[in-house]
């Protein structure tokens, strides 16, 4: 790679990191590209040289988040993991980018369709790992006979409710750092078949 190309890629990465910080702090809708250029320490026009439009920049940040989350979930998932291990892997991955992920969920109705599809992609990865374990637990009659999609949307709904209302649950810090253990433990309790 020549020096010019290297420099071009470095500038692109700098803008992406700056955008990541700004969107994590203020959401995707309000910040201007000027704000991001300032944060990145580049001229305003440079942002468009690399990302053409504000929408393309937003989608690049979201795609990057999606790749980071799915890589972390795949990486941390091992054969033989329990349901609790998998749920923890999911929450650990979200917690690593909690502010940005929360804004993605909150702003989703106002973002392009691709943002929604990226979220469905992240969910497909965690669903794939959960599916393997849930199938086995169902066979062994250790958990209730509920459809996978009901169980999955219940889990996602629960997590997203806490994240979207973080001001109510953890106004000064990470919702997941505080609630992760009890969310996992209680969700599993809900599914478990009572052994009397």
């Amino acid at each position: 790679m020549n020096k010019r190309e290297l420099q071009r890629q470095q500038t692109r990465a700098t803008i992406l990191t700056a955008a990541d910080h700004i969107y994590a702090a203020h959401g995707f809708i309000r910040p201007s590209t000027q704000m991001i250029a300032k944060e990145a320490g580049v001229a305003h026009g440079t942002v468009f040289l690399h990302f053409q439009s504000q929408e393309k920049l937003i989608l690049a940040v979201i795609e990057h988040l999606g790749m980071a989350l799915t890589a972390q979930i795949h990486e941390a998932s091992e054969p033989g993991h329990s349901l609790s291990d998998i749920l923890r892997t999911h929450l650990d991955a979200i917690e690593a980018s909690e502010a940005l992920y929360t804004h993605l969920i909150l702003d989703l109705p106002q973002l392009p369709e691709e943002a929604q599809q990226t979220v469905i992609g992240i969910q497909s990865v965690i669903a794939h790992h959960m599916d393997q374990v849930i199938g086995q637990l169902k066979k062994e009659k250790k958990i209730k006979d509920l459809s996978f999609s009901f169980l999955f949307t219940t889990w996602i709904g629960l997590i997203h409710y806490y994240l979207m209302n973080r001001r109510l649950f953890a106004p000064h810090g990470s919702v997941l750092a505080f609630y992760k253990d009890q969310l996992i433990a209680n969700f599993i309790k809900l599914l478990e078949v009572d052994c009397k």
Binding site: E75, P79, Q117, I120, S124, H128, F148
Partner: protein, 82 residues
């Protein structure tokens, strides 16, 4: 460690490969019973069905999302619209 070119899943152990063939670049979930790789329409259909079954989404939304995910993967990049 290789990553499946057709669905993105990392292949960590022999069991992840089609018929245990580690020379393949795709995983067992992207293979036909004879070990060959599914084509675009087969993969689109199986991924759509997976999304419907696991996330309960509307079939049209599920198919659009599956096509979007596939457009980001090396095996299907040439099939995407952009």
């Amino acid at each position: 460690m290789k990553q499946c070119i057709a669905c993105g899943m990392p292949m960590k152990k022999i069991d992840d490969y089609p018929l245990g063939d580690t020379t393949k670049d795709y995983c067992k979930f992207c293979a036909r019973p004879d070990g060959s790789m599914q084509n675009y329409d087969e993969k689109l259909s199986s991924m759509t069905q997976f999304i419907i079954r696991t996330q309960g989404l509307n079939p049209g939304v599920a198919q659009k999302s599956a096509a979007f995910m596939m457009s980001k993967l090396p095996a299907w990049k040439s099939n995407s619209d952009d």
